[in-house]
Each structure stands twice: as C-alpha cells, then as structure tokens.
Symmetry: C2
Subunit: 520 residues, 2 copies
C-alpha cells in the first residue's frame, strides 16, 4: 500500500537513496523503503507551488473551503490504516492517535469555516474625500496570501502538527500553496495523509502544485527548502536547535522570509499559597497526570512548578511522589528522543541542589520513565541548567523562599508558550501582580488548569516570546494562525470593475471597516 515516494505536485518521485521508519516500541525497521528527496525534487516542488500559487491564491473562498473539507474527509476516511501506521511509527497509543485524527480533521474544517467567515481579509474602505486639501483618494485594503509556505512536520504530533497539521491548514486557509518536509520518524503516516491531500487537490480541479511532500533524514533537505527562492514563509514545530537553524537560513537569504518556529518551553506553573494550602494533595496528583501525559512529549509539558516552601508544598511533593509510582512507562517517539531524555535527566539529577523525589514504573528500553525533582529557589537561580527544556516526562518543583523570590525567578525566565496560576479567592490580590508578569512571559495564561491540552479555537494562542517561538506576534494553533501567511494590499482609486469583489461598493457579507467604522 505504501510506496515510499515523494509527492512533487502530481508526480510521485523515487530516488536511489532510501531510509526506513522504525517501529518505536521494538526499534525494528518498518517496510517499505522511502526515497530521500533530492535537490531536484525540492526545486521541482517549489516551482510547482509557485506556478500553482496564482490560481490557488485567487480561488473563490467557497472553493478554497471546499478543498479543505474534502481533504479532511479523505484523511478521516483513512481510519484504522492511518492509526495503525502512526502507532507503529510513533509509539503513541491508539486512543491518542484516534483523537489526534479527529483534531486534525476538525482543524481543517474549522479553517474551512474561517475562510468563509472572511474576517481574516481585514477589509477596509476609505472613500475619496474631495473637499479636503489635498483631496483624499479612495483607498481599499485586503489581505492576500504571502506565497508558497514550507511546513516542517513535527515528531510528537504525527497528524495534528505534521503533513496536514495546523501550519498546513492555516497556510491553505490563507491561500498559500504548501511544500511539506515530512518528519523522518513517520514517513508512512506522512504518505497516507499526503495521498489524501493530493486526491483532494485533484478532485477539486486545483493545480497539483498546491501541495507537495518531500521526505528525508538530512538537515540539508530542510535548508534547501527554506532557501528556495519560491518559498515565502516557513512553519516549523520542533527543537530549539532546529528552529534556530531555519531562522538563520531564512534571514540569510537574498530575500529574507518569515519563519514561524515553535521551539522550546518549560511552561511554569505557579501554586499560590491559598490554593496550595487547601488542595496540596489533589494538585500533586493532577501535576503528575499532566507531566506524564503522552510520555511528557508535549511542547506545553509543565517543566517547572513554583511554590513557597513549607508544609503545604511538602504535602504536594509527597502526593506527587506517591502518584508517580503508578505512572506506567510509555514508549517514546524515537530512540533519539529517548536517549536525549535519559541524558538530560541524568544531567539534571547531578545539578547542585537537585533532588529526585520519585519515578514512574520502569519499562522497556524504548520507554521514558517519569520523574520529578525538587530544588531550592537559590539553587535554581544559581544554575541556568535547571531552566533548560527536558523533552519527556520530567519536571522540577522549585521550593521558593517567598513570593518575592518566586517573582524574581519568573522574571528571569525565557519566553514561554504557557504560564499557569493555581489560586483561590484568597490569592487573587497577589495573583493580579503575577498575571502582569506572566503576560510578559508567555502567550497563554491558565488559571487552575494544566497546560497540556491546546484547544483549536478562535481565542487560543499557542505561541509566545522567543525562544518559545521565533516570532511571538502570532499563534500556531487556532484560527488566528491564518494571519501569519497574509500581507496587506491597498488599492487606490481603482475602478469598481477592477476591484476585488469583496472591496466593491455594497455589502459583501463580511464585516468591513468603512471610513473607519465597522460595517456589516
């Protein structure tokens, strides 16, 4: 069923150099061979995207939405075939991958609705004013697609942040053609999803260059893609090193382009004294549930917890330690990620002041064993290594001397995707100060929850200041993501017949700002 080729528009290309996926649980190679994309393949994919861009970018919105819906239907129809392959390649459990498929197709359908809702076009009309000196021209503004987008699939969400993930969905929604660099850990999953998208492209009568997929195991492949002159923007979810490399390639191009890289975050969780006092045990249990979810392989994993040292925090730590014992070992995504997890946690355990307070059950050599450390506030501040992201089910509880020290620690952190406050009403006065600190720190602030779990809605921000992302001005989850792949164009004194339809006189069914005032 799988053929292992690259999708270069309508062409299915193979090459001499091959690689295979690995069964995450057993470490054994999986059939079939996949072709490493060549430099020619990358260039051909980008050229096809450029050639398709004019047609796709100016498609009627209903047609663009229909394409996304058809792609969603076709991905959904892959059913168990997709789930089974993704399970083998990622080691993630069946229920999670079924849920992730639902999230992926739901996301495509949400963006289809968003396309038609039309507000993303930011339509503005300023009518001419002949009475002023000098007279003012007629000006009309809309957003147009940036051009072909390179999307890098992530290993930890083989569906929702991969070939048809959030970046692809939002780029398509914006009217941009997409060239995906598939993640080499799940090429079979990528091929299945790419096949569904390519079918949707063909059935909608779109130019084949609207979508391509290039596979490979080398960093050079990604570099070629980012440096291709036809690529206008980049979406990436992955490691900090990977994201920084892409940023460098993009900034060094003759024509620099935007990079939206979601890179690294330790997602601080603050336990305010009132809430901690009343619910220490319950919070300790929930904490372990969040940090071990999906073997801790989430960008929003709660990597550090901050609270004032004392009896209540001791009870929290005690409860976390007890709960940890019952956490089953889970297969990690790749042997490389598992090895890095072991190395990073071993190094963490040796940092001055680090104390291991508990571990989850031991599993196979493919598994990550959950663990929690504690450290004093002074020790945390003295050793930058404590604030480095450990990808996997590991977290640190910081015993702060007082709220002032906690404030200092938070103010010294790098940019984050999320920051969380646990509090009760007695904590509100203090919490208000913390919120203004957390706003500077993160893209999403949670009250009394846990950061794992990123809903795909209108008001979601999955983003944040560097290095959480390369560009904190946007989000990679939720409908606001469409704005990342757009730019404004203004039409001055353009005859009505030559204006884009949405900018002509009379209602277009989409809210517009007309002479500064919202008109519906």
């Amino acid at each position: 069923m799988l053929v292992g080729s690259n999708f270069i528009g309508a062409e299915r290309r193979t090459s001499e150099q091959k690689f295979r996926a690995t069964d995450a649980a057993t470490g054994k190679p999986l059939e079939p061979d996949f072709s490493e994309a060549t430099a020619d393949d990358v260039a051909a994919a980008c050229l096809a995207a450029r050639d398709a861009q004019k047609v796709f970018g100016s498609l009627a919105l209903a047609a663009r939405a229909a394409f996304l819906r058809l792609a969603a239907d076709k991905i959904d129809a892959l059913g168990d075939t997709l789930t089974m392959r993704a399970m083998q390649e990622s080691g993630l459990p069946e229920a999670r991958l079924k849920g992730e498929r639902g999230r992926t197709v739901g996301q495509l359908r949400l963006f289809a609705d968003e396309i038609e809702q039309g507000e993303w076009q930011q339509l503005r009309i300023d009518h001419a004013q002949t009475g002023t000196t000098p007279p003012k021209p007629d000006l009309r503004l809309r957003m147009i697609p940036l051009g072909p987008v390179a999307v890098f699939g992530a290993s930890n969400f083989p569906l929702a942040f991969s070939v048809a993930g959030g970046d692809t969905a939002s780029a398509f929604a914006a009217g941009c053609c997409v060239v995906v660099k598939g993640h080499p850990a799940h090429p079979g999953t990528s091929e299945l999803v790419a096949g569904a998208i390519a079918e949707a492209v063909a059935e909608c009568g779109l130019p084949a260059g609207v979508f391509s997929l290039v596979n490979g195991t080398s960093n050079a492949l990604g570099e070629m893609l980012v440096k291709d002159p036809r690529i206008a923007a980049v979406g990436f979810t992955g490691s900090r090193a990977g994201g920084l490399a892409l940023m460098k390639h993009a900034a060094g191009r003759p024509v620099p382009i935007p990079v939206y890289a979601e890179m690294s975050s330790i997602n601080p969780v603050v336990l305010m004294p009132g809430r901690l006092e009343e619910a220490a045990e319950q919070l300790g249990q929930a904490y372990v549930g969040s940090l071990s979810l999906g073997a801790g392989q989430f960008c929003t994993n709660p990597g550090i917890v901050l609270a004032v040292a004392g009896d209540a925090l001791d009870r929290f730590i005690q409860a976390a330690g007890e709960t940890l014992k019952d956490v089953a070992a889970q297969t990690m995504l790749t042997a490389g990620i598992r090895r890095a997890f072991e190395e990073h946690t071993a190094a963490l355990g040796k940092l001055p002041g680090a104390k291991l307070i508990g571990m989850g059950a031991e599993g196979s050599s493919a598994c990550g064993r959950a663990r929690v450390y504690t450290v004093g506030g002074n020790e945390f501040l003295a050793e930058p290594g404590f604030a480095a992201e450990v990808f996997g089910p590991s977290s640190i509880v910081i015993r702060c001397a007082d709220l002032e020290q906690m404030t200092g620690i938070l103010e010294g952190l790098e940019g984050q995707l999320t920051a969380t406050l646990h509090m009760n009403e007695a904590d509100h006065a203090e919490a208000e100060k913390f919120i203004s600190i957390l706003e500077q720190l993160a893209g999403r602030i949670l009250a009394n929850g846990w950061p794992t779990g990123v809903d795909v809605t209108h008001a979601m921000v999955h983003g944040g200041p560097f290095p959480a992302t390369s560009d904190g001005r946007s989000t990679s989850v939720g409908t606001m993501a469409i704005g990342r792949f757009l730019r404004p164009v203004s039409y001055q004194d353009m005859p009505e017949a030559l204006l884009p339809i949405a900018l002509r006189e009379g209602s277009c069914g989409v809210p517009r700002r007309v002479d500064g005032k919202l008109a519906i």
Copy 2:
C-alpha cells in the same frame, strides 16, 4: 533655545563629543553643538523604557489617547519655530514643512482615535463548553504591546517620519515606550519635537522612560540601540544598506526581534495603451510633476515608467522633456544625498541604452537637477543597474516592445511600495492581468494617479515585499501600523475578576469575536 542634549527619560544629558547640523542650502554649520549619545546614554534610555513599559502598556486607553493628543497639541504649538529650524536643516520649503507638521499632528490624533476605537485589540472570547469530550475551557484573547520600540528618524520627512512620526505614533498607540535615534541631519528639529513629547509625558503623569531621544552621527549608535536587550522591536525608514544592517543586528541578537525597515522602491508606473493614446501629453506633464516633487526625495517617487514603444509614447516623452525644462532646481536634504544623486545619475546615463531626454533647471551646488532617461525594454532587461533606486528627481521611461515584454519586466522586479496603472475603459481587460502581477509586487496599487502622496488613513498600505520593506506583512503609514507592535495573549479559565476589563462578560463597547461570531 536649543541646548543640544540627549533626552534620556527625564534627564537631559550632554557628552564631550559634539556634532552640528548643516544648513542644507548653504552648507554652513548651524548652532548649537549637539551631544553624541554615549553607550551609557543608550543603555540608560532603554532601561528607562523597560521600567516605564509596565505602567504605559497597561494604561487605560483613554489616558493613552489623551497623551497622544497632548503631544500633538504641543508639536502644533511649536509653530514657526519648528518650521524655520526644519527648513534650515532639511532645505525643504516652508509650505511643505507646514503641511508636514499638519500631517504629523493629524497622525498622532488619528492614532489617538484608533486607540479608543479599540478594534486593534482583536478581542476574542470562546466560552467554555462542558458538553464536549474533552470539555473545552474558557479562552479569551487580546493583543498586548511588544515592549520598548527603537525608532530611527528619516532624513526626508524631518517631522512625519522622524521623532514623532508614524513609527513613534503607532508604537505609542500600541502601548510601547519609544527610544528614538534622531537623524543627524536635523537634530534641532528633533530636539524641538522631543521637547514637546517629553512635556506631554510629564503633564500626563507618565513615567519619563516612555520616551527618549538619542542623537549621533555614527552607525555604532544605532547598532547599540538595536542590540540592547530591552528593545523589543525596531522601526526604520531609510536606505537599503541601513535597513539591511539593522536587520542583521536584530537577527543576530540572543533574542531576535522584529525589524520594520522601509528601505527602497522604484515604484513602477504602467501606461496602458488606450490611456496613453488619449492623454500622452497630460500624462507626461503630470509624471514630471510627481518625479520632481520634494526634489524627488520620496520613497514613492516614480522611478520607472513602462509603456509600449510607439507614437503615443513618443508624445509622452516629448511632453515630459518639455515640462522638465521648467522644473526649478531644489535644495536637496544633505550634501551626501546630493552627491549620491549626482553619482547615481551619472552612472545611469552611461548604462548601455540609456538616453537622457531632458533636465530641469540648474541650481546651486546644493540642488538636485531633475532628469528623465529612456531605455529600450531589451536594454533594461540586460542591465540590472536600471532597476536600482536613485534617490532624487530622476526617472526612466522604458520603451517596451509589447505588453508581453512589459509583463516580463514587471515580474522580474524586486518588491515595491507602490505600482501604478494608467488606463481607460478600453484597457480594463488587459489591466486585470496586470493587477494580479502588481499585487505580488507591491503593497499599494494605484489607478490613474501618481504614487507620491501617502494618505494617513485606515486603508493605506505603505509597505510591500522585500526590499521595499524588511517585512511586507505590515504598513508603516495608516492605522493598521499599530498591529506591528502587538502580540496576542490568551487567558484560559481566568476568574472574571482577574480578566482584563475588555475581556469580561457584557459588552465592553468594542467589537469582539464571541464564540466565533462578531459581537458589538
């Protein structure tokens, strides 16, 4: 009256190293000495901005708007003192500078209105859904300021793109403190305007760090400012070399930051055959008016005109040549700009195929003499030097073989601020194709006008693909510019009492997207 100091928040600092402004018309140095800002001054200004940011960024919108209005009033009240100093320093005529003052204060007032209108906050509310699996949390989104912004004053608009220009106005409107690097060609003008802003800061009871001005003649000063860790974004209008240098500094920081640099553009003007045939002479006259306006020292100067060779184009060229003779020489902004203009036009005249068709009147050694060249389409395509920006009153008419060659030339151009089509109804069918090319090329498309003149309105885009700007996703003129200095934050399950007021239940007087639907 002028003291020549730097504005470091509330402090007026002098240094040992001095420089002077030059009278643009006479080349003579002007009183008084101005102090070159030191590394300490830059650091102190950025620190003051950082310390003021929390208060300024969370100010009630009415208070922020009041500050902009007061600054506008105070700049307006500078009256002739400001105009006279700006005339000396820039060589620009009185009427132009009075108009520019009006534009500058009008811009501040427009942004004050925009702040209160509130749509820029992009408020979104998604209510919790308990019936879904998993249940959906309550999510609420708003835009917050990025942090302190470094603004680089431009030489060609000593008021409207300088200390209190568009970048400063939009950064203030977004709630960002501003550190201006004043342009060394007009330090006196800068000091007068800075004094007005500083007074407004003080009278509004704002922390003094909301605004600073550092002066100097070295590139190192700008580099220090862009590299300061407290600076969160950069606004720049100037040369391509200058903008590229700032982009490099910003990308190389430990924490990279966005740079909005408006750099270089030759603003192609297309004369469609029908319109050219009926109005060749009139167009030729208007062309010369546009290219010589303000001694051609506009980012939107029409640098190239494209038309199909033939009798009508000959009439256009003839009319342009005749009109040129009556163009008075005008003082250029600086001796350096004048020298570069002479060098670039001399080089242009020697390019293979270039033919000078006319010049304006000769003036003093401080003046730029308007000139127009022609070149054949093939020669233009063969020599990249024809497409380089010449800053000043110079332009090239390209005699294209046919519309196909014209299309090829347009598709090969770099990104532009503007692109213009002159057409009549007979041209509409062909024009439609050109518009879709011009959309890819530029941020603003004009019909039957001239690109000089950039209205400050809601639907204006003064931006465009690289290298017109460093970042085509925004505009530096018009109310949409406020979005450049914002980033989204989402609040999840936040108790009502701790939510920003605009995100609480019940109307806040600003349109919001509630559960995906626009609510007013």
